[in-house]
Symmetry: C2
Subunit: 315 residues, 2 copies
Amino acid sequence: MKLSVLGSGAVGAAVVELAGEYGHEVVAVADSASAAVDESGLDAEAVLERKRTDGRVGDADADAALEADYDVLVEATPTTLGDAEPGFSHVKQALERDRHVVLANKGPVAERYDELRSLEADSAGSVRFEAAVGGAIPILSTIADLDGQVTAARGVLNGTANFILSRMAAEGLGYEHVLAEAQDLGVAEADPTFDVEGTDAALKCVILANVLYEDTYTLEDASVEGIADLPGSALELAAEDGRTIRLIGDVSDGEVSVAPRLVPENGTLAVSGTLNIIQLETAHAGQLNISGRGAGGPETASAVLADVGRLPPLE
Amino acid sequence: MKLSVLGSGAVGAAVVELAGEYGHEVVAVADSASAAVDESGLDAEAVLERKRTDGRVGDADADAALEADYDVLVEATPTTLGDAEPGFSHVKQALERDRHVVLANKGPVAERYDELRSLEADSAGSVRFEAAVGGAIPILSTIADLDGQVTAARGVLNGTANFILSRMAAEGLGYEHVLAEAQDLGVAEADPTFDVEGTDAALKCVILANVLYEDTYTLEDASVEGIADLPGSALELAAEDGRTIRLIGDVSDGEVSVAPRLVPENGTLAVSGTLNIIQLETAHAGQLNISGRGAGGPETASAVLADVGRLPPLE
């Protein structure tokens, strides 16, 4: 497949770098201000090197990547809420041109799912978004593969919040101290709001709800509580009882919620560090637990490229 | 799809019971001595009730289920080693009739993989065997879905052995004592050889190797050590070091092995009770861990029926 990659952050750059290994070709890459386009195939190393040295991927306008002759648009620009722009317009334009779309950007899938599915219905292209939920964990394809048998999902869907809670519990340190440490390590961003207030986990749960219930949830339908106000004493109390606290996203009985929850200290849901885990309830096969890396450039890119591999050929 | 189900043990009976819920129809069922055939669809409850009361599923010869007009042969007779008969001949006959085959029986896939694939190549039918590895855990479809990115697999693939090791470690009891308890609970069979000597886990690893390496391993290629000779003192020593012992199957670098291994006490591989876990190494996405129920009638049947759902329509 010929890919046009929008976004040249960790995920976009890794898609460009790894595409060849999955048998695909990158014909365009854009960052917010520029684009590189070569319909006979870009030199991945040269584009990424230019981004590192010049701060831009090429000389063309960013829009050139949208207008290129590609098979699959990879939408890896930053997630935005509400109207989910500019991601949503990128996706719209690709589907109206009868091209496939693979998203790492959660915005359009969480906030405008009904419009996304309706654009897809009118297009020869398909939309996939495995990378938007749980990074490298193939959670959406597992749900699809289990063919209607999954009844509920819950788990740890934000590695930054999980790192902070794991460290607070293991070291008896306070929230602010561990957050600063996570920022130094690059595990938390300078503005950690999205992760620590539960928004990122909630967007993933909304996407899971859209898929599980074939309905159109948005962030407004989710009940969301983060970890920023969690006192260290709460973790100490939990530990005295053989438990710990994790930021758990839950999609069950038609409801979507994210909140700090007590879980058994060595239980399945108490993954450590930046790991993610998702627990699926099935009709006849009990619980299925899948854990792995929920973020990271190559990890998320591998989910994007697996999605590309699942697309049918375009006529 | 119209199913003919060979085997009316826990798995076969659960396939018969649940097929309708997955949108399929059972037209034949056989146990070792008899069969029930109705090409317009069997009454599942009546067949299972007859098995419970009469000890046989119907009045026809067992062969009648092989000769019925079905789309998919479900091979759920007991696993046998070496020539893997009679399972292998059942599969051969179905493929030669251009029908699909779904196996829960590990024998033909572990012991005669090359012949199986060559029969499939000459047939309009396809062969699937998700239920043969890890029960309800969709491990083979995950490997296929990750499209060549899985480089190695390891894990706990036998629930009986894991139950025994978990109990020995938790209660400080000896092997013979816990085995007797497992037999009382129905977790271990009267003759537990297959499970405790590692044969069952090894067959699953051989199947994983066949899929991962697209090669033809058999049980003879596996290095196999069980838990029957493991002294309780080994578990005590491990515990003093924050570790425990699990029967770990490993498929890596072209080698297949099963043996008791030290693992961190609260680590990912130290699942409890009859749970199974499989850990996949991937090229770019780190480790992926999947745990769930590795055995049980409805659980394994759900894997069989998910496989049926993955089959292409027959012309």
